[in-house]
Subunit: 203 residues, 2 copies
């Protein structure tokens, strides 16, 4: 069985869990406690050369790192990744844009707030916001005239973009500026098999 190393609140690992669930691929989840330094332990470093989650461990023990690389590997041949080379390039371009322009700028302010250090990091947060609001504007422009990022259908480009964009308010971002993004987040959450970041405990 596939094994996914994640953490409870990682948005990047969440993307992989959404895809695995939507592909109906069974997997074992190993949730690390990053606050206790689990990512730095040698046994984990041997699985993850970048010392972070998510990591997908295959049945033969080989591992794949980086959320977008894992999604591209898992989605091959499925409806979530087009076979057509041009459309696949479009998927890639959105995935790279998200990782280059949005990931850190959305994730780190959220992390600073969770740690209670947002005030002392206010200068850095302002720098992140400057770049991220510009990138969010480009996403918003696209979604003003498209339901989905690629080929008018739900693909891993949407999952890759969804993770941290949906968590942006937790980093202090004012997403009310972007109604087209908000409408798209609702569409993504309505996809069959979508799972929340943290499962509610059922009554």
């Amino acid at each position: 069985m596939l094994r996914l190393y994640d953490s409870r609140l990682s948005g990047n690992a969440w993307k992989v869990r959404i895809l695995l669930t939507q592909l109906a691929i069974p997997f074992e989840r190993v949730t690390l406690n990053l606050a206790k330094g689990a990512a730095a332990e040698p046994t984990f470093r041997a699985k993850s050369r970048f010392a972070r989650v998510p990591v997908l461990e295959l049945e033969d023990g080989r591992t794949i790192v980086e959320s977008a690389a894992i999604m591209l590997y898992l989605a091959q041949g499925s409806p979530y990744l087009p076979d057509d080379p041009y459309l696949r390039a479009e998927v890639m371009s959105w995935l790279f844009f998200e990782q280059a322009d949005l990931l850190r700028a959305l994730a780190l302010p959220r992390f600073y707030r969770m740690r209670g250090i947002a005030d002392q990091m206010s200068g850095r947060i302002a720098d992140f916001q400057e770049g991220a609001y510009s990138a969010l504007g480009k996403l918003s422009d696209w979604l003003a005239t498209h339901n989905w990022l690629v080929d008018n259908r739900y693909t891993i480009a949407d999952i890759g973009m969804f993770g941290y964009v949906s968590l942006a308010p937790e980093g202090g971002y004012d997403m009310q500026r972007f109604p087209s993004i908000d409408a798209w987040l609702v569409r993504v959450k309505a996809q069959p098999g979508w799972v929340p970041l943290v499962e509610e405990i059922s009554a």
Copy 2:
């Protein structure tokens, strides 16, 4: 013929030029003057939804954006991109790591220095350096025991990593800390078909 929109000093566009040359694919180069606002013009925005170079324009007029997406498109079926799904995932993971952890941190301090505003940006540069030296350390660890990033051979993972890592000193990075990276840069530059960022005018 393929058309590549680039700028004279873009490290991301340089990667695509290296690959096109190594694949012996003829292309027309359209070099934009970004300082004069060429990336914001509506005719260019119609080709590049992220308003930046590089952009690859296909013969039918469709365009592909983001350097790594362009390289993955061009390298299919060539020796520069493995067919094996696991090895291809390894290539992807290095490409995403470079875009997420190194691109902005290496490119923007270089840009500030070229613009003569490094002093007033010193706080931001310090923030970039904190993250980038950590990422460079991970790259250095890998290269201490591997000649290449994936499958013991030169692939687009190496080209994608090479661009801005080779330009890091222009952003003020002390690369003498990383002899294994330096040796790998020499190997990349020795690959047949490698081209410099700016062609020397021959005497």
